[in-house]
């Protein structure tokens, strides 16, 4: 048995999926280049007002109470992807029949998912969860299910052998389904097909054939003499007797959602409302395919800025050197490492190493991109929204927003084996949100875990993303060997510059102007211990280190002194504590 999922009036359905509040209003979709935009599709409310496809946009605008939306190929692509996701959640064998139609092979699914009516109702529910109003029809062959879905609204189950009877009352127009592909990409071939379909339909109308029952009853020989093989094919379809195999496709793992705004947004709060909607749609689609995500890419199209501003001509992809300067190598909320989804940019972009945001200025469009990289695959729309909000608060777009595009990189869900005796560990989702909030307080580069670098240079370390790895994986590294206490050093950042009194080249007293308590006479000293390095680099260093016991006003303190051999200055680097 085969199920067909059909989305009626697909372009309008794609818009309603992105903006559900428009369902109760009269809506018309237009396309084309101004000033020659024409109405492309209308919903029932607009049709009742007399708006028809082919009207100019100017004519449609004369109707009060009509909502106009430009055709968005990205929204239609997202709706089509959601349709395939819905189909794939019921069977691995799915045919991408048309942009508004998906066919599902239900062979063997009854033992898993229930009876055919239950499966059909389940498909209807999942599609509704994904924001699509669909017709679902189940029949013994793919073409019969397609006709039933196109002609009958809601959920339909056609019993085997009763196809002709079930489809008989449908109008012949259902055999010539409207195709919603982009006219420019379809080209002349689609035009010829449309003309041929119109000719056949007109012929059938002239013969008084208005429904499939009448077409099925025509004599085959006479029909083939007048309409040829195409006529016979249509008759087989009308009888529900056409048989063909499904051509299954692997639905591409592309999870993108977009929304174009009627008015630019200037505040982050309404932006968060729209982001929440897009995130919920993406998460629902990922969940239907049992996937999580580890990367979210947000691209905001900004309102055109008048005049060229050199300060804004920036291209903020961070270089490797930026990451080496004590920035985390893979920030939870950080920089995009790839070009944004949208295509060509103007040639006047210039790189910068300062700005963390990606902000493209061209003659025609501004784009602002942020990438949210997660340490582990997750699927929590509320968490993603909070992380994006924190990031946008820290890196605001700087201009009103006219379009929002969100893409998620799919990943397999993480699996972790729980245990009764495992040490406590933070929940990954909670931890990610906590780290983002901490980063908003102290700075992104000032929170994380340590990584020592292979160098003897002072401050030879870098911060990296803190990940609470699964206890089993990290347990293997842990050692139960007891160690004796190691005397620790507390550093002054930056090191404190001091004035040192020397005797025979050895410090005997010091004074620090910045920190009054760091002054006194040296009771004991060890050193100097000489270190140097990177002499082949621009940032060569050479220093002498001393460990001293300093008699201060109150007590004796152990310090590490550093004498910079290249600059000549003396510093207190830290305290032994």
């Amino acid at each position: 048995m085969f199920a067909c999922i059909f989305v009626p009036n697909f372009p309008v359905a794609a818009v309603f999926r992105a903006e559900p509040e428009l369902r109760a209003r009269a809506v018309a979709i237009f396309e084309g280049k101004p000033p020659l935009e024409k109405v492309f599709a209308v919903n029932q409310g607009a049709a009742r007002m007399g708006i028809t496809p082919g009207m100019t946009k100017a004519q449609a605008e004369l109707c009060s109470g009509l909502t106009l939306r430009p055709r968005s190929l990205l929204q239609e692509s997202a709706a089509h992807a959601a349709l395939l996701d819905c189909a794939q959640s019921f069977s691995p064998c799915v045919e991408d029949a048309a942009v508004d139609t998906a066919l599902v092979d239900l062979e063997g699914m009854e033992s898993l998912l229930g009876t055919l009516p239950e499966i059909a109702r389940g498909i209807f529910r999942v599609a509704a969860d994904l924001g699509l109003d669909v017709n679902v029809a189940v029949a013994s062959n793919p073409d019969a299910s397609v006709l039933a879905a196109r002609g009958l609204s809601g959920v339909t189950v056609v019993s085997p052998g009763k196809e002709g009877e079930s489809l008989g009352s449908l109008p012949v127009e259902v055999l010539f389904a409207e195709r919603w592909e982009n006219k420019e990409s379809a080209g002349k071939r689609k035009e010829d097909e449309q003309k041929e379909s119109a000719r056949l339909l007109a012929t059938l109308e002239r013969w008084g054939i208005h429904n499939l029952r009448a077409l099925a009853a025509l004599p085959e020989v006479a029909l083939s003499e007048r309409l040829g093989q195409e006529g016979l094919r249509l008759q087989q379809l009308a009888r529900g007797a056409a048989s063909r195999t499904l051509v299954p496709v692997e639905a591409p793992a592309v999870f993108e959602e977009a929304i174009e705004l009627e008015y630019p947004i200037v505040l982050l709060e309404p932006l968060a409302f729209l982001l929440n909607r897009l995130l919920e749609q993406i998460c629902a689609r990922l969940a239907s395919r049992a996937l999580n995500t580890q990367e979210l890419r947000l691209t905001l199209e900004l309102q055109n800025l008048t005049g060229a501003d050199p300060q804004l001509d920036i291209f903020g992809i961070p270089s490797e050197s930026d990451e080496g300067q004590s920035r985390r190598s893979s920030l939870a909320v950080g920089h995009s490492q790839s070009l944004p989804a949208f295509g060509a940019f103007a040639n006047d972009r210039r790189p910068t190493t300062n700005d963390a945001s990606q902000h493209f200025v061209s003659g025609r469009q501004n784009k602002f991109c942020r990438t949210l990289r997660l340490p582990l695959p997750m699927l929590d729309s509320k968490l993603f929204l909070k992380l994006l909000q924190l990031d946008l608060n820290a890196h605001p777009p700087g201009a009103p927003i006219t379009k929002i595009h969100l893409a998620a990189e799919p990943a397999r869900p993480r699996s972790a084996q729980g245990g009764l005796f495992l040490p406590p560990s933070p929940e990954p989702e909670k931890l990610e949100l906590t780290l983002a909030r901490i980063a908003a307080l102290v700075g992104e580069a000032r929170v994380g875990s340590l990584e020592l670098l292979d160098t003897h240079r002072a401050e030879g370390f870098r911060m990296r993303q803190f990940v609470a790895a699964a206890p089993e994986a990290s347990r293997q590294k842990s050692s139960t060997e007891e160690r004796s206490a190691v005397a620790a050093l507390r550093l002054f950042r930056p090191p404190l510059r001091i004035n040192v009194t020397l005797e025979n080249g050895e410090p005997i007293a010091l004074v620090c102007s910045k920190k009054k308590e760091v002054q006194g006479s040296v009771l004991w000293k060890a050193g100097p211990w000489r270190g140097s390095g990177d002499w082949w680099e621009r940032e060569a260093w050479a220093r002498d280190e001393w460990d001293i016991a300093l008699q201060t006003v109150d007590t004796v303190v152990l310090y590490r002194l550093v004498h910079d051999l290249l600059g000549g200055a003396w510093f207190v680097e830290g305290t032994y504590d």
Binding site: P423, P424, S425, P426, E427, K430, L431, L433, T434, R437, I438, L441, V442, R446, V447, G448, S449, L450, E451, L452, F461, M463, F466, A468, S474, R475, K477, S478, S479, T480, E482, R483, S484, A485, V486, A487, A488, L489, R490, L491, R493, P494, E506, L523, W524, K525, A526, G527, P528, W546, D547, Q551, T555, V556, V557, L558, G574, T575, Y576, D577
Partner: protein, 225 residues
């Protein structure tokens, strides 16, 4: 109770209590950071995740690694930038501490206030310490506060006071630090360790009243072997 990483300290206090606030106080060079890193090393060896909220950005990565802390399990939060005043750093520390305690899942959270001026640290209201204590109650988290003087009052369940007794050098054992105690040349001297005294000032974990007890433990420098 969990091990502090130093056997003598465990014998003195019984270890560090989970679900309670412990204060470690003392002047500079009294071994506070040594004890902190030993506790972090013990916790990470147990497989727990730890966090250090560093008010003065004073943590030395080399010392952390030498102490045996597993770096992957340590979250380091560096409060304030160079130009920020102590009050700003303190405010950041308190807000970060709130976030970490709310998040949960850490075996040990350390608030490093050791380099903050005492008058600044004393500005933390007792209600804040009380809130921190309530946040860790009935959790497996050890909350440590490292400071110059005790500032949490009765909110801390354990109060340890540290002091420097003497330092050890390779060529010259100095028992009394005097101006003429340098016997060997400086280049022949090597700081090999510190002898730390620890006093258990207060413990609310035992029913019987605690008499002030004192122990001494030795810490070695990383190069002493």
């Amino acid at each position: 109770m969990v091990s502090s990483g130093i056997a003598e300290m465990d014998a003195l206090t019984g270890g560090l209590p989970r679900g309670c606030l412990t204060e470690i106080c003392g002047p500079a060079s009294s071994g506070r950071t040594t004890l902190l890193l030993a506790a972090l090393a013990a916790a990470t060896r147990r497989g727990e995740f730890c966090a250090v909220v560093d008010a003065s950005d004073a943590l030395d990565p080399q010392s952390v690694a030498a102490a045996g802390v597993e770096l992957d399990r340590l979250l380091w939060v560096r409060c304030g930038e160079e130009s920020h005043h102590a009050e700003h750093r303190l405010e950041q520390l308190l807000r970060v501490a709130d976030l970490l305690l709310e998040s949960g899942g850490f075996g040990l959270i350390a608030l490093d206030l050791a380099d903050l001026p005492t008058q600044t640290a004393r500005r933390i209201p007792l209600t804040t310490w009380f809130r921190f204590r309530r946040a860790v109650e009935h959790t497996p988290t050890v909350l440590l506060a490292v400071e110059r003087q005790s500032i949490a009052g009765s909110c801390s369940s354990l109060l340890i006071k540290l002091g420097l007794r003497k330092l050890s050098a390779s060529e010259n054992r100095v028992s009394e630090l005097q101006e003429d105690s340098q016997i060997a040349p400086t280049h022949a001297q090597l700081l090999t360790g510190l002898e730390i005294t620890a006093e258990l000032v207060r413990s609310r974990l035992e029913r019987k009243p605690v008499r002030s007890a004192e122990i001494t433990f030795t810490s070695k420098t990383a190069w002493a072997g």
